[in-house]
Amino acid sequence: MTTPPDPTPGPDGRPDFAAPPPSITDASLAPPPDATTPQPLAPLSPRVSEERLHPLSPLVRGWVFVLAGGYALFSTIIQGQIRWEDVTRIGSLVEQMSGWSLALIAALLLSLGFGYWGWWTTKIVIDDNELRLENTGAFQESKRIAFSRIQSVDINQRLAARLLGLAEVTIDVGADAPTTLSFLTRTRATQMRDYLMARAHRQQVATSDTVRTASAWDDSAQGDQVLIRLHPGEIILGAVLSSELPFLLLAFLVPLGFSIWLQQPWIALGAGVLPLIIAMGGFLSKRLVGQFNYTLATTPAGIRLTRGLTTLHSQTIPAHRVQSVQISQPLLWRPLKRARLTLTVLGLKLGDDSQDLSTVYLPIGNPRQIQLALTALWPNLRLEDLRFHRTPRRARWLSPLSWSWLGYARDDQVLAVRDGWFERHQTIIPHARLQSMQISQGPLERRLRLVTVVALTGGTLTHTRIKHLEADQARGLAFGEMDLAREARSQERQAPPPTGATWHLTSPTAAESTDEAHLWTPSTSIVDPQPPSLPYQAPASPADR
């Protein structure tokens, strides 16, 4: 499904954001090998572009009411209550109408008027450093989004918008509620997304470089490389075997048991079977509709996730904004060797996958797809190369079921932590994203001379526990990890991470060779009570006292 990177900037009627520097015209799609060296950037003229949202926006926003009003009008015409000749005698017609319908029409027109006033007074201004959303209506408001603060840019197309070729752009800056531009034409939305993401990656590009027409089906465009496309059967399989469904079944077994006990079959039908069928159908269809045609692709703008049958969600995340990724495997998925990937990006709330902004990175995938999805984030990471350190045997007293699974591994880029027994987890944290580390010890652990290390990344409630380590192991891990984090961060500052544009999966054969491999190929095996090679005591200079 790979389309060759073929930038053919078509003629664009709209004003440009910035003067296209000719030297980097194709920088976003086919970068030179030394992309990190500063390009001779043409001094950008302080050109500012202004535009409005699409004129159909107010109508699409209230599309339910518009549809209802249209339907009411249509049906009255069909039923012959209003004939076309009546339109000329509208005065007498109004007299015939009842008061409430007049009020309804007035409210509709008023809200539409307000909608259009809001549309007229709202302007999107893009200059060299920021995007501004300026509203000069009843309330003056100017919202500024600096390009360097952008965490992710998403395109959502609700059904009504999708049919009209419109899309809304959601810009997430991490802290505040995300800003939504609704609606733009699909082409314009794609263009703006690509531009914003390129600027978020600290690249200087002109938007005309990124004129790409995105498909209405899955938002793919030229220059995208589709890595994974999920089959609907896989999604259904994942939903049926998920951890939620057994609990759902259990919840409805209770009234069933009651009905058998009371010998009243109608209780079983009314309170057990029918709601169960409805709930299960709802659960499955929500999953299927929400995750239909799940596509993971690398694009010039970053990693793009696209999903949805009716509403098309398209989420683009810069790889270096990912705080952590969790591979998790519910119990029932274990024989199938399937697993799920969840990621943490600042601003994305933990939530279910039906929401606009989702933390699901890959709803279900086989080992090869998991490896591929992780390679898209960290090109050098190979799951089978990680060597997991086991915790001391006496930790079995505290975690009898998960002891054989517990452990941690690290390479030059990431820290990987294993946890869980019913649902197995493996959390992968890049060193550069670590916020801080903690060493903690409860009374039971103290008795067994064990300590737990907690790795904290950005956001709320994102702490990963590395349980039950030896004291020196824990200290070596915690302090060493802070040094690695500092080093990784300074490296990142010197050489900004490559974007999806500079990175293309060079050898897909290497990833395919892991087809036979089990997802958790390296077992948690290394028991090393020796202190790791990293010095846990930094040479203290006299000034550091």
Partner: protein, 185 residues
């Protein structure tokens, strides 16, 4: 590295004999923990006594008069309050002595807790906000709390009950060092 303003601090004399490389999980990262002020013990005891006097005793009295049928309830409330107060009173000194901070190169290390011990390592570059605050009681003893805020909500930490001067010096040190590094989320 430029000389930091904490150079003139002396190491905690009570921990002078502790070997640096002891495989004690909560050993200080550099030379010694800088313990918080022992006066914090008194502050904590006063706080818990006030809570007992203003919360548990009035609650027990109100329950005694409002619910005459449940005569066993007020003594229970009082017993729970007293037990809690005794527990805090007896452990206050040790809890305060277990709290401290230290600097390890470019990290701020904070140790705390008696039953559940915890050692946080926070890089100065990751600290976004430093706050020095003290209530009326703390101020009466010349103490202040230093709290740091990072991008990770779970990693926010407080060093309670530092002497006022030390709190201000620590604040300036954190600000100086966090400027040098820059965060980079």
């Amino acid at each position: 590295m430029e000389p930091s303003p904490v150079t003139d601090f002396v190491a905690d004399p009570s921990l002078a004999g502790v070997p640096a490389r002891a495989v004690e999980p909560f050993a200080p990262p550099s030379d010694a923990w800088r313990r918080v002020s022992p006066k914090l013990t008194i502050v904590r005891r006063i706080t818990s006594s006030l809570t007992l006097a203003l919360l548990f005793i009035p609650a027990a009295l109100v329950l005694w008069f409002v619910l005459p049928d449940l005569r066993w309830l007020p003594p229970l409330v009082l017993a729970v309050g007293l037990g809690w107060w005794v527990w805090l009173w007896t452990r206050a000194r040790r809890a305060v002595r277990a709290t401290g901070w230290a600097r390890r190169d470019n990290d701020l290390c904070i140790v705390k807790g008696l039953m559940f011990r915890e050692l946080s390592i926070i890089p100065f570059g990751r600290i976004q906000v430093v706050r020095v605050n003290s209530g009326p009681l703390l101020r009466a003893f010349g103490l202040a709390n230093v709290s740091v805020v990072t991008a990770s909500a779970a990693a926010d930490a407080v060093i309670p009950g530092l002497p006022g001067d030390e709190a201000r010096v620590l604040r300036d040190l954190i600000i100086e060092l966090s400027d040098a590094e820059g965060s980079g989320l």
